[in-house]
């Protein structure tokens, strides 16, 4: 198998809490080919971040297995880079120092790693903000910093958990263009977790729709829009049809999710 292929086999995770057992993820199987861009979409609370943490090797005691290039993954894998849903830049480091972080961990000398970080800084369009601290940046800039930091790790597989969830629609669309440009340039296997249909369709080769509680895969939707794409694709008829198709699936799950939360109970 070629380098950078990801497979998830019968993965499940149950959380035991004082209130009872929550099945966050149940029997999820899928694979992402080398260089492919796949999105997982599902309503809030359906277990996306749990799946993300399992694939990234940050959770233990789950069912099933995760494979990279055919080998079972145990713990954090050096081919996998993660971009987290939450604010995750180091507040005591400037943008460039944040981006150089994985290089510092790898023991690269200071001068060399800062030079190398500049490349990723340019890639996410933050050159003018190299020496600012996260507190001096906007939320979108901080997310781009976190993304550049993970890119500097040069993972073969890029996992992103709702990296743009906190942003407005316009910024999100434009960042989507940047993500696609970077993906073309670096040719990384990419798994994007999102709850935004537009984003999923705009970027992906395939979209996997998850059910709400327990989180399972409901459907796989191939996105056969031509590449290279830009955010203008959002206006096309084919795009609208794909969004409509996914929304039909998602709607049912989302309303189930709403009801469950309205009842004040989580299971």
């Amino acid at each position: 198998m070629s380098a950078g292929a990801l497979a998830v086999e019968h993965v499940g995770k149950r959380f035991v809490t004082p209130q009872g057992t929550v099945t966050a993820v149940e029997d999820v199987s899928f694979s992402v080919k080398k260089g492919e861009f796949v999105s997982i979409i599902g309503p809030s609370g359906c277990g996306k971040s749990t799946l993300f943490a399992i694939i990234g090797g940050l959770l233990d005691q789950y069912e099933g297995r995760v494979l990279v290039d055919g080998h079972t993954v145990d713990g954090a894998h050096h081919d996998i880079g993660m971009v987290f849903q939450e604010e995750s830049t180091f507040p005591w480091r400037t943008t460039i120092e944040n981006i150089a972080f994985p290089l510092e961990v790898a023991g690269m000398p200071k001068k060399e790693r800062l030079e190398k970080a500049v490349h990723f800084l340019e890639l996410v369009g933050l050159t003018d903000f190299a020496h600012r601290y996260p507190s001096e940046l906007s939320g979108g800039m901080r997310q781009r910093t976190a993304m550049a930091r993970t890119l500097a790790f040069e993972p073969k597989i890029l996992l992103m958990d709702e990296p743009f969830a906190a942003l407005d629609e316009q910024t999100r669309l434009l960042l989507g263009d940047q993500v696609l440009r970077i993906w073309r340039e670096l040719n990384q296997t990419t798994l994007l977790i999102t709850h935004n249909i537009t984003e999923a369709v705009q970027l992906s080769d395939r979209v996997l729709v998850m059910t709400y509680r327990p989180g399972r895969l409901k459907r796989e939707v191939p996105i056969d829009l031509p590449r290279p794409r830009s955010s203008e694709v959002v206006g096309s008829v084919a795009f609208g049809q794909l969004v409509g198709q996914i929304w039909k699936d998602l709607r049912e799950e989302a309303s189930r999710g709403m009801k469950a939360t309205e009842g004040g109970r989580n299971d």
């Binding site: 996998i80 987290f84 180091f90 961990v105």
Partner: protein, 256 residues
């Protein structure tokens, strides 16, 4: 229509000026009390006498010897108490269960005046610098421990996950994530602790010793050189303010 703004005299005053004015008023009150009441005159010597005493002390080599001893005792206290506080704080912060077990004790021991166990410390560390340093260290240990503990517990958990996703070794986790993340709360603890260490050292010098600024102040008092005592107090006050400003500037430089 905008109502005309009423500016009170206090508002027109610059805060620095106001502070100076307060000092002048206090000084005048002091001087008045000192001059016109013979009983108070004993306890409150005239400002001129205090100023004279201050100059005499500043030009006396003996003062610098005592200053040096005090500084050394405070610094040694901070090193011992600070290292112990930060070390135990990191440990208790990382081993959450252990930290939570000891937290209530720390919480209640922190505000207890440590001076009550000075006799024990003297038995353990002798009448010299040892017991003074022990007292200072014990005094600054608690605030530093408490703020380090809180600092570790308040670290954003996602930063730990970032570290794990980049395969940090345990040592890198400590030096690249935990330590920088707790820097600010630790500095705050050091600032609080410094005040406590100075107090602890001076109090124990006052109780039992033959060296240091505390000893100098109390022996001035015991030999009825009240003006000297005040002069030393002023110097101690200046010293504490200077030390505090030093830590504050480190704090500012950390920015963020």
């Amino acid at each position: 229509m905008a109502a005309p703004q009423v500016i009170t005299p206090a508002q027109r005053w610059h805060p620095q000026l106001l502070r100076l004015a307060t000092l002048v008023v206090l000084g005048l009150a002091w001087e008045t009390a000192s001059r016109f009441n013979s009983t108070l005159n004993l306890a409150m010597p005239s400002l001129l006498m205090i100023a004279k005493a201050l100059f005499a002390i500043l030009f006396d080599g003996k003062f610098y010897q005592h200053l040096g001893i005090t500084l050394w005792q405070v610094v040694a206290s901070m090193v011992v108490g600070g290292l112990a506080g930060v070390g135990l704080g990191l440990w208790g912060g990382l081993k959450r269960r252990f930290g939570q077990a000891i937290e209530p004790y720390v919480y209640y021991l922190a505000p207890t005046p440590k001076i009550i166990i000075l006799p024990v410390l003297i038995l353990m560390f002798g009448v010299g610098s040892g017991s003074k340093i022990a007292m200072g260290a014990l005094s600054c240990f608690f605030p530093i421990l408490l703020s380090t503990l809180a600092g570790v517990w308040q670290i954003n958990p996602v930063l730990i996950r970032v570290g794990r996703s980049f395969h940090l070794s345990n040592r890198q986790m400590l030096t690249l994530v935990y330590l920088p993340a707790v820097m600010r709360p630790v500095i705050t603890g050091v600032r609080l602790g410094l005040g406590m260490a100075i107090t602890g050292v001076l109090l124990s010098q006052i109780r039992l010793s033959n060296a240091g600024l505390g000893f100098l102040a109390i022996s001035a008092f015991q030999t009825f050189q009240v003006a000297d005592m005040y002069a030393i107090l002023i110097l101690v006050f200046a010293l504490a303010a200077l030390a505090n400003a030093g830590v504050a500037s480190v704090e500012r430089r950390l920015g963020g």
